[in-house]
Amino acid sequence: MKRPNFNPKEAPAQVADWADQRLAGASPLRKLFNKVFPDHWSFMLGEIALYSFIVLLLTGTFLAFFFTPSSAEVVYHGSYVPLQGIKMSQAYASSLNLSFDVRGGLVLRQIHHWAALLFMAAIVVHMLRTFFTGAFRRPRELNWMVGFLLFWIGFLEGFAGYSLPDDALSGTGLRIADAIMLSIPVIGTWVSFAVFGGEFPGGDRIFSLLYIGHVFLIPGIILALITVHMALLVKQKHTQWPGPGRTEHNVVGHRMFPGFAAKGGGFFMIVFGVLALLGGLVQINPIWLFGPYKAAVVSSASQPDWYVMFLDGSTRLMPPWEIRIHLFNHGYTVPPVFWPTVVLPGIMVMLGLLYPFLEQRFMKDKAHHNLLQRPRDVPLRAGLGAMAVAFWVVLTLSGGNDVIAQKFDISLNAMTWAGRIGILIIPPLAYYLTYRLCLGLQQHDREVLAHGVETGIIKRLPNGQFVEVHQPLAEPDEHGHTELPYRGWVVPKKMNRIGAIGPAVKGFFVPVEKPEEAAPVSPAPKREEITSGRK
């Protein structure tokens, strides 16, 4: 039989034709190709989270092939000698096998764990960028809420993953999680017994829940929310920094195809590469040192992963305040664990979710915004953000205060007190300092717009006074004024930024100036960022 003629050069066209006959996708596809994305380093932080999530899915699938979520007791006979003959749960034994008896299992386990830490870290950094630049304002309140929820769902997902191997650290974490559930008034014991299927640790119930949650339910929710997050981004288009030619009604940047997509794909490879390097070269969560979970076993410096550490910190700082209520001849207890681990996160979730609306109400700004604001231009928001970050940092540091106490030779009790006092005074201080800093930066921008860039040239006046020569940023108008209005744009502060002393040549942190070209003082208008946009 003769095979039909096949021309490889025409194959793509034929496939495209075949598909378009059926889907009529040419024009929507082209619209997608032509979508314009603004180019700025700070817009790529969320991508890190997205790519970490893909890595998590890939590595997690591999891990699931070998992991057994069961508390059934087995005797370990794997190749890790110091645990041979020890009784342990099947979950822990299979995690050990994954690390020692599955070829390449350890590196994938470690990549998975590092990717989880990176996923959460990237979410936080991305969220901070969104917050401080005002990218959450109308019309993007909904996407802010989706992203904010992603942090908390990622938090649950991470905690479930941390708990699954059933090593002594996981068990300690679950023990505390049980105490947190128990602390909820009225329904606490019911919640705890439903989750553990009895008194802690209960048996297989918790592993069934954690496992199905960790590998199916929660990742499904995360995937759905990421889809919504992306869809809203595409629909609403990305925000952009203000600047020449950039308005509330356009997007200036690169079309998605091919440049932007290539950069995104390349960045995915870089994220994956960094994770692979970390996973291979830096050891994480050495479960074989922790041993199987036993209710009587604990280690100094028992900590959760970093994104849960703020809760550990808030619990450590909480004063011993317990509420006892007497009703109908029966005492009722609200344990001190309740406030820092249930109420505090509850407040954090609500405040975070509602922040865009609170700000709209407080600042009386309900307009559409597609241009970002520099943090300095909204000192109130920057201050609040700094305050929140400071609050969170004090709690997180307190979550590791025993390690800090030990490594830096500080009294543990002193660390706790420092945290208790710090949580009260450092956030307001951060607010105040940030507020002043923002005003100062604004002030300096205004000065440069009014008087020009410092040239470093000192001139002596006839009366003997020394003054520095400033290079105005604009041509003098008919009155000889060179002042420019304040627009919230980046203001060039150095001569080489306005092309006056030659372009900066290669230099990673600081532009290195070419000394031989450092002559002309007249600004080259092509490189002048502030004036080229106004005509």
Binding site: P139, R175, S183, F193, G259, G279, A295, S300, M318, V334
Partner: protein, 351 residues
């Protein structure tokens, strides 16, 4: 590249016009998608310049590194000795080698692609118009009407009987849907109030041997479990207990300080406290034999052993419950009852 500044209608646009370049088609397509390509120029003024060749060579070199690293990964994955062997040996480098080769391969793919995109692909600035805000008024009204017409068509407003029937019929279905979750619910009545200890239960070591007074030196402490089958397993996670042999003077202080509930719980110089912290349930077991403090490593609650294990620092609010112990005729430690109060973290119904 400047003629696109103005909007222009192109009714005469013919995609098959031989005078049009491919880029003209691209530009027209973008224009129809609301995107103006306002700046578009190749990176290199003359193709094949020295600079361009340098970049091309760099990208090629990156891909060569990728190939080598990936090959190294495959070879290492298959051929490197990987089974666990104690000590320092080549097997311990299996994971680092895999991570390094895989990481380098992926990293250099990224570097190559991005260099390609940044240095070789044309420089471009495009401007896309936004179409923000709500849909046109007419559209909204028509959509609203379409949605509301459903209510009209159902005529539920005119048929109150159906309204009631639907509400009455569907409400139980909603509840029924969450009923299977009820399988998770478990009655908890007294589990939290008791432990495996009771009168006559002996104390045992982790290895199952029974505990005699002479097993603990003065200034020593051991973790003991109820001497019942699986007494040291997680089945009885509420029962681990810390048995402490105090020095004579500390023991006297402890006896003097004993609260009514703890009277008689001490046997000579030996005291036994629940190891489960009353704060969050971690094993509070960092015993300082000179200061007689017990520290919990999870949230740093500190308990004073000589004073009914009272919390003296940190977030814990309640004393560690004391297990009343004595020594039976065979010379073994034995509990004289369960703990007098529930052990472990607090909960709502705690009496």
């Amino acid at each position: 590249m400047s003629s696109t500044d103005t909007e222009r209608e192109a009714p005469e646009f013919d995609p098959d016009d031989p005078k049009l370049t491919r880029f003209d088609l691209v530009r027209e397509g973008a224009r129809r998608d609301g995107v103006e390509i306002v700046h578009y120029e190749p990176r290199f003024q003359q193709p094949g310049s020295k600079e361009e060749k340098r970049v091309v060579r760099f990208v090629a070199l990156c891909f060569a590194i990728v190939g080598l690293a990936a090959l190294a990964f495959i070879v290492a994955y298959v051929a490197w000795p990987w089974q666990y062997k104690a000590g320092s040996n080549i097997n311990k480098w299996y994971t680092p080698v895999l991570g390094l080769t895989l990481g380098l391969a992926l990293l250099f793919i990224g570097i190559a692609i991005i260099t390609w995109a940044k240095k070789l692909m044309p420089e471009e600035v495009s401007v896309e118009r936004r179409h923000d805000g709500a849909s046109p008024d007419v559209e909204r009204k028509m959509t609203a009407a379409t949605a509301l017409s459903m209510v009209d068509e159902l005529g539920i407003k005119r048929r109150p009987l159906l309204k009631g029937a639907v509400a009455l019929g569907l409400a139980p279905v909603g509840v029924a849907a969450i009923m299977p979750l009820g399988a998770l619910i478990k009655n908890h009545k007294s589990d939290l109030l008791t432990t495996a200890w009771k009168k006559g239960v002996r104390l045992m070591h982790d290895d199952g041997t029974l505990v005699r007074p002479e097993d603990v030196s003065a200034g020593g402490q051991i973790t003991v479990f109820p001497a019942i089958p699986e007494g040291n397993s997680n089945k009885y996670a509420d029962s681990p207990t810390l048995l402490i042999h105090l020095r004579a003077d500390d023991a006297a202080t402890t006896r003097d300080n004993a609260l009514p509930i703890n009277k008689g719980a001490q046997w000579q110089n030996y005291v036994a406290y629940s190891k489960i912290c009353t704060h969050a349930g971690c094993p509070a077991s960092l015993y300082e034999q000179q200061t007689n403090r017990l520290l919990c490593p999870c949230h740093q609650s500190q308990f004073d052993i000589t004073n009914n294990a009272r919390p003296i620092f940190g977030p814990a609010t309640r004393r560690l419950p004391q297990l009343p112990i004595t020594v039976d005729n065979d010379g073994y430690f034995v509990a004289t009852s369960d703990y007098k109060v529930p052990i472990g973290p607090g909960f709502w119904e705690r009496p």
